[in-house]
């Protein structure tokens, strides 16, 4: 029972407890904070697995961007201090049952798969290597997905603006013109 194993169990428990609380608590702001904890726990898991770069990206983007965005939208749309309405009893029971069954089924499959011996090769993730491979056009190069994702980001930005834009009603303008002439 080495230290890494214990740390792994602690991190896993942290993630799962925070996630459970995030989906069951009735106050919305607390739910956002529990989400934040879950994401931080995931970053810790990444750290434990040795991919520090991903952990850093996770913290910056998820925790620092997405959770902040969510908290802002909570402020914009409702009083965050009140309790949210309870979910329907039927629905929570049925979905819990279905999901427990699903989880058992999936985990049974995973267990039975037999992934084989863990490779004992060390896992080196150098940031410079990530950078080089991201922009390389040779085999295992990810420049095409990179460009596509940038276009997607552009599209989503434009889309957000278009969807959330307030369109001035046309009748207001027409009414103004009409009354101007009188």
């Amino acid at each position: 029972m080495s230290a890494s194993v214990i740390i792994f169990y602690i991190i896993s428990a942290f993630i799962l407890v925070a996630a459970l609380l995030a989906v069951t608590t009735r106050r919305i702001f607390r739910s956002a904070i529990f989400l934040l904890f879950t994401l931080i726990g995931t970053a810790a898991l990444f750290f434990w697995m040795g991919v520090e770069f991903i952990a850093a990206v996770q913290v910056i983007i998820y925790v620092g961007g997405i959770v902040v965005l969510i908290i802002f939208s909570i402020f914009l749309t409702q009083k965050s201090g009140d309790e949210m309405p309870k979910p329907l009893r039927n629905r929570s029971v049925f979905s819990a049952l279905a999901l427990i069954f699903g989880f058992a089924f999936t985990y049974h499959l995973i267990n039975g798969y037999g992934f084989g011996q863990t490779n004992l090769q060390p896992f080196n993730v150098k940031v410079s290597e990530i950078g080089m491979q991201m922009l390389s056009t040779k085999e295992h190069g990810f420049v095409l997905p990179f460009e596509v994702v940038s276009i997607l980001l552009l599209a989503s930005m434009v889309g957000c603006i278009v969807i959330a834009m307030k369109i001035k009603p046309v009748e207001e303008k027409a009414d103004k013109e009409y009354f101007k002439n009188e």
């Binding site: 629905r91 979905s95 279905a98 999901l99 699903g102 089924f105 499959l109």
Partner: protein, 643 residues
């Protein structure tokens, strides 16, 4: 024989006329439809006369026996290698005579209707129906196959239905057309079963082959059919009797006569064409067509004879009490057809013994002329006086001279006074009856006397009796188009008796020489004159004598006046018995069980769909849950069950 193939035009021209007038007449042709109809029938008449001339005088005879010529034939439905329904045209003496009669009388009726039906809104439809009827009747008499005659039989029934119910706004007309159709349809059931029996045993549906197989005593078909028995009578008897039932329905023999008086609800020219001269003789024609087979089976002949004789007497008795002009004429028709029927019944096949056959056909020929003349005359009378009831008429001889003279000629003919045509044809019938059975002869002579009596009763009541009070808006005698047919038919009635029918139409095809037996004819003529004198005494001037006689007969008079309550009996049977015990339960089953089952299926489907509908709740999370459940289910299915 292909060079007779123009015969096909004779029925097909009226058929084309029916389609044209039926589809386009009302909108495009209007009153011109009458001219179109008349013209096409005129051409059919010319063709029929030409064929008659060719057949009877030039080509029909081989070894001085008239041949049955098949003019055209094509196979329509093949059931088995040697059983098929062929459509064909058969020419033999009676069919040629019939096409002349049918087309000629139809022509007269067409011309008469130009004036009688003038101003009718559905003028074109009337002519279309007339053309349909003419086509059906011509097809019936030209049929070479017993099934083909059945097809045209039904077509004639349909045309009659359409024409009787022509004034469909009148409920009585609708009821009458339904009655006619149902009674004849019911009789046709017997006809069909008879056809099937005869066809089964003889193995063919063609007339010539059927007659040949069933009349030669050694043929296997004949042996089989006469040895197979059912309830004591041979199958031959059953087949023939059933076929006769069909004929009796169409010819209004007792007890299937109930439709004929009511059929007078149709327009009068229609009664002249259909219910006097052509359709009602279809039954007689059928028996004549199958006469060789009938003449072998004595039981069937007896039935034919007695039904005919009884109908003749029955109708004559009832006609003496009726007050509606057309009903008197209807019963008179029934009586005369009874004459034709029993004349066939007492006849035998071949040579001198076949006199009854010749007499029957001769009477059919002359009857067509004088009966249609009577009906058209009655039509002219009704046209002037707006009334059918003889109690309201009288003294019309001053206003309608042409109608008066022609009506008188027709009455003399039907009474059997020489030298008019009826005398000659009745004489042949009475001679045949005398040689066969004195009882039948006695009934026939008595009926002739009654015929003369009631016809002259009718004549005097219309044209003499009292003076006529003119209706305010009545018009004169009628247009020229109404007078010409009366005159033409009057001339034919006078001279038709002199046609030597017996040298053309006999039971076996060989010409027969006929002679007038003065001594024999004296007694029937005397009976007729007695009847006329009695009618003159009672009806020529207005008096109480007829009423005194009627009241002295009391109860009996009432029964006869109500036509022996036959209609009431039929109504009782159908309404109380058939409708209540069969009709109502069937209707209940149809409404509750059959419809109920369908409704049950429909409402069940609806309920199920309401249940399913609730799945579409509009809530996204429900959809997501179903989606997820489906994925898990499918995954489990594929992984565990369908390895």
């Amino acid at each position: 024989m292909s060079h007779y193939s123009y015969i096909a035009f004779i029925p097909l021209l009226p058929l084309a006329c029916f389609f044209i007038l039926g589809l386009f007449g009302r909108k495009y042709f209007k009153t011109f439809s009458g001219t179109i109809g008349t013209f096409s029938i005129f051409i059919s008449t010319i063709l029929s006369l030409y064929i008659a001339y060719q057949y009877f005088f030039i080509e029909g005879k081989v070894n001085s026996v008239f041949q049955n010529i098949i003019a055209m034939k094509f196979t329509w439905l093949q059931f088995a290698p040697n059983v098929s329904i062929d459509m064909g045209i058969l020419l033999d003496p009676i069919s040629v005579m019939m096409i002349v009669i049918v087309s000629f009388i139809s022509l007269m009726v067409h011309i008469f209707s130009l004036g009688y039906m003038k101003g009718e809104e559905r003028f074109a439809t009337y002519y279309a129906f007339l053309s349909l009827f003419t086509f059906s009747m011509l097809g019936l008499v030209l049929s070479s196959n017993i099934f083909q005659i059945y097809i045209f039989w039904e077509l004639v029934g349909v045309s009659s239905f359409l024409l009787i119910g022509y004034y469909f706004e009148k409920p009585s007309a609708v009821a009458a057309s339904k009655k006619a159709f149902i009674v004849t349809r019911f009789a046709d059931l017997g006809f069909l079963i008879g056809i099937l029996i005869l066809a089964f045993y003889s193995g063919t549906l063609d007339f010539g082959t059927l007659i040949e197989r069933l009349t030669s005593v050694q043929s296997p078909a004949f042996i089989e059919i006469s040895s197979a028995t059912f309830l004591g009578a041979s199958m031959l008897t059953w087949g023939l009797v059933l076929v006769f039932i069909g004929g009796a329905g169409k010819s209004a023999m007792f007890p299937l006569h109930i439709w004929l008086p009511d059929a007078m609800e149709g327009p009068t020219p229609v009664s002249a064409l259909i219910h006097a001269a052509t359709m009602v003789v279809a039954g007689v024609f059928l028996v004549a067509r199958l006469f060789p087979v009938f003449s072998i089976d004595l039981t069937a002949m007896q039935i034919v004879t007695w039904v005919g004789a009884f109908s003749a007497l029955f109708a004559a008795v009832v006609a003496c009490t009726q007050t509606d002009i057309k009903r008197v004429l209807a019963f008179s028709t029934m009586s005369q057809i009874g004459f034709m029927m029993f004349s066939l019944g007492v006849s035998k096949y071949g040579g001198e013994n076949g006199l009854g056959y010749t007499g029957s056909m001769f009477h059919l020929f002359t009857h067509a002329f004088f009966k249609s003349l009577l009906f058209l005359g009655a039509g002219a009378v009704i046209h002037v006086a707006y009334s059918n009831d003889i109690k309201e008429l009288g003294g019309l001889r001053k206003i309608m001279p042409v109608t008066h003279i022609t009506f008188l000629i027709a009455c003399l003919a039907i009474a059997g006074i020489p030298p008019f045509s009826g005398f000659f044809s009745k004489e042949d019938i009475l001679l045949a009856a005398y040689h066969s059975s004195k009882l039948i002869y006695g009934i026939a002579v008595f009926t002739s006397g009654l015929t003369a009596f009631y016809m002259f009763r009718l004549y005097y009541s219309i044209f003499w009796s009292k003076d006529f009070h003119k209706h305010e808006s009545s018009h004169g005698e009628g247009t020229l188009s109404m007078k010409i047919p009366l005159i033409v038919l009057g001339v034919c009635t006078i001279f038709a008796g002199f046609v030597p029918v017996s040298s053309f139409i006999t039971s076996d095809g060989a010409p027969l020489e006929s002679h007038i037996d003065m001594a024999f004819s004296a007694f029937p003529v005397l009976m007729a004159v007695t009847g006329i004198l009695l009618a003159t005494y009672l009806y020529k001037t207005q008096n109480n004598r007829s009423r005194i006689i009627a009241s002295s007969l009391g109860r009996f008079y009432k029964i006869v006046h109500r036509k022996f309550y036959i209609d009431e009996i039929y109504l009782f049977i159908t309404k109380k018995i058939i409708f209540n015990s069969i009709g109502r339960p069937a209707a209940w089953i149809d409404k509750n069980i059959v419809d109920g089952l369908m409704n049950f299926l429909a409402t069940t489907t609806e309920n199920i769909s309401v249940l399913i509908k609730r799945l579409q709740s509009g809530k996204v999370q429900n959809y997501a849950l179903y989606f997820f459940g489906g994925i898990i289910g499918l995954a489990a299915l594929f992984i565990y069950l369908l390895k």
